[in-house]
């Protein structure tokens, strides 16, 4: 697509980026006395409105999500085409699909708080469409029903037609395929682990496929880096818990620069083989540090923060682009990251954690 089309959006984003909270802002937040002080320090930011409307300060989580949703809608409103942004947002749809798959496939009681309100297709629509289960166990009318589904982001942004076409032509088939795969995995493994993992895989393979198909090379590279780093984290946690190689191969995400099969084979062969696999990519240092922690049986918390910081660094490349959808998606990622950081600070304040523990967990800021 024409990157010139994104000129105006990038202009918007360049100013919006200035409003992102920096590392110094987060340090200041971590220094505040308590939750109340931290929230009032946020009064002048984008989150002020949502946080001030709260009766009970402890309920800051949903308020942050609402602020994030508003930001997504705003960014969509000035984007020339919704495709890449919706693709970014599809993670929430796939998350809701997990909730639904656990309810429908594994017969677990539905948990309303597990539903993400940020999905493109509202959860109730997805659920209504999935309720008609065919003989084979797949929601038989899913595509037809979902095509008529409302979408959260289409209505208010003047992208109605494009959003509808994205939902019916791209998102719904992906959701259907993933659901089917999750059903097979769920029956085979008989557990929520298999269902979750297969939906994660379905999501990643679809997202990177979409970017590549549409020619968003840099976005596809971001997705690949995300898949790689997520796989690295999966490998470390699997090593930590001593998971079976056969299982690990099945839960690794596709779409990265190293294929899941290579990682899986190396995992079965031992840490040295894994290191050889990671030698040819950028993450070898990260891998070594993680392995050291696993071998010393130390907590992976700080290391996971390092992984996420690396991903933020990669997304920050988008800040140097003057045109194209990358800066816009980079900003969305930065915003999501910022909400995560705020959650860390506010949860830390809520549980009266010392400021060192909070600071050790705050992710690198996109700003």
């Amino acid at each position: 697509m024409d990157e010139y089309n994104w000129a105006s959006s990038v202009g918007h984003v360049r100013i919006l980026e200035l409003g992102l909270l920096t590392g110094a802002d987060f340090s200041k937040l971590a220094e505040t006395e308590d939750l109340r002080a931290a929230v009032s320090a946020l009064r002048d930011t984008d989150y002020g409105k949502q946080l001030e409307a709260l009766g009970n300060l402890e309920e800051f989580g949903p308020a942050l999500e609402r602020a994030l949703g508003d930001e997504y809608e705003y960014v969509l409103s000035f984007s020339p085409e919704p495709g890449p942004i919706l693709c970014f947002l599809s993670k929430y749809d796939f998350h809701n699909l997990k909730v639904l798959a656990k309810e429908l496939l594994l017969g677990m009681p539905m948990e309303p708080r597990a539903v993400s309100p940020l999905s493109i297709i509202p959860f109730d629509d997805l659920r209504g469409a999935c309720a008609v289960i065919g003989e084979d166990g797949i929601p038989s009318l899913l595509p037809q029903l979902l095509e008529r589904a409302r979408s959260r982001y289409g209505a208010r942004n003047g992208h109605g037609e494009q959003v509808a076409s994205f939902v019916s032509k791209d998102l719904v088939p992906a959701l259907v395929n993933t659901f089917e795969e999750a059903r097979r995995q769920g029956l085979e493994e008989g557990g929520p682990f298999g269902v979750d993992s297969s939906i994660d895989r379905g999501w990643m393979s679809w997202v990177s496929g979409y970017y590549r198909k549409r020619g968003y090379e840099l976005l596809a590279n971001f997705a690949a880096a995300e898949a790689d780093l997520t796989n690295l984290r999966i490998v470390m946690r699997s090593l930590f818990h001593g998971l079976d190689p056969a299982v690990v191969t099945k839960i690794l995400l596709p779409g990265g620069t190293i294929s899941p099969r290579d990682i899986g084979d190396a995992y079965a062969a031992g840490p040295e083989a894994l290191e050889r696999v990671y030698l040819c990519v950028r993450w070898v240092e990260l891998f070594r540090r993680g392995l050291e922690r696993v071998q010393r049986r130390e907590s992976l918390t700080e290391w996971e923060k390092e992984c996420e910081d690396t991903l933020v660094e990669i997304y920050r490349m988008a800040r140097t682009r003057a045109l194209g959808p990358e800066p816009v998606l980079g900003f969305l990622y930065g915003k999501e990251n910022e909400v995560k950081n705020l959650r860390i600070v506010l949860s830390g304040k809520q549980s009266l954690a010392p400021k060192e523990r909070i600071l050790a967990r705050i992710r690198r800021s996109y700003a």
Binding site: N5, S8, G11, H12, R14, I15, F78, A322, L323
Partner: protein, 187 residues
């Protein structure tokens, strides 16, 4: 390089080549007078450089509008950056005007041989091509320079210098065309 724009530029290029081929065929067939060839040259100077500027100013304007929507204070500085890719069009127009002047369009007597027509045609080409290409690229630098204005308004001067470097080559094209028209072309 320009994504979807590339295809339109390629199409435009094919069109131009076709036009030139037609010109050549007609000229050698004796169907075109020197006047027509000279006029085609003047036209090329104006419209090719004009395309470069239009696209450039357009995309720069779009980005400036995006930034201004979020922060209206930056409008003044952005306007300068938006205007920079616009100079190519002016250069093209200037050369077109000079070419018409040289072929005697304002003196009433236009009676050029095909050879003289070709001279004027080729004298116009530097500003036409340099204007088109430098316009597109200067726009890219301008658009990137707007990021500097957005992030560090105090450094706007630097943001102006960078696209001005591209301007050099548009100016060189203009200079070459003007010199050719004034001193090299024999009419």
């Amino acid at each position: 390089m320009f994504g979807g724009l590339t295809s339109s530029i390629v199409a435009l290029g094919f069109g131009l080549v076709g036009l030139v081929v037609l010109l050549v065929v007609f000229a050698f067939g004796g169907m075109l007078s020197g006047n027509a060839i000279a006029l085609a040259g003047a036209g090329f100077a104006v419209f090719l450089a004009g395309i470069g500027s239009t696209v450039g100013v357009g995309v720069a304007g779009e980005k400036a509008a995006g930034i201004t929507a979020e922060d209206p204070e930056k409008f003044g500085r952005l306007l300068l950056l938006q205007a920079l890719p616009g100079t190519q069009g002016i250069y093209g127009f200037l050369v077109g005007f000079l070419a018409m002047f040289r072929m005697g369009a304002f003196a009433g007597g236009m009676n050029l041989t095909p050879d003289q027509g070709w001279q004027i045609f080729f004298a116009c080409l530097p500003v036409a091509v340099a204007g088109l290409v430098s316009g597109l690229y200067q726009a890219r630098v301008s658009v990137a320079g707007m990021d500097i204005v957005a992030k560090h308004p105090e450094e706007s001067g630097k943001a102006l210098i960078l696209p001005a470097m591209v301007e050099t080559y548009a100016v060189l094209g203009l200079l070459a065309s003007v010199l050719l028209l004034m001193f090299a072309v024999r009419v």
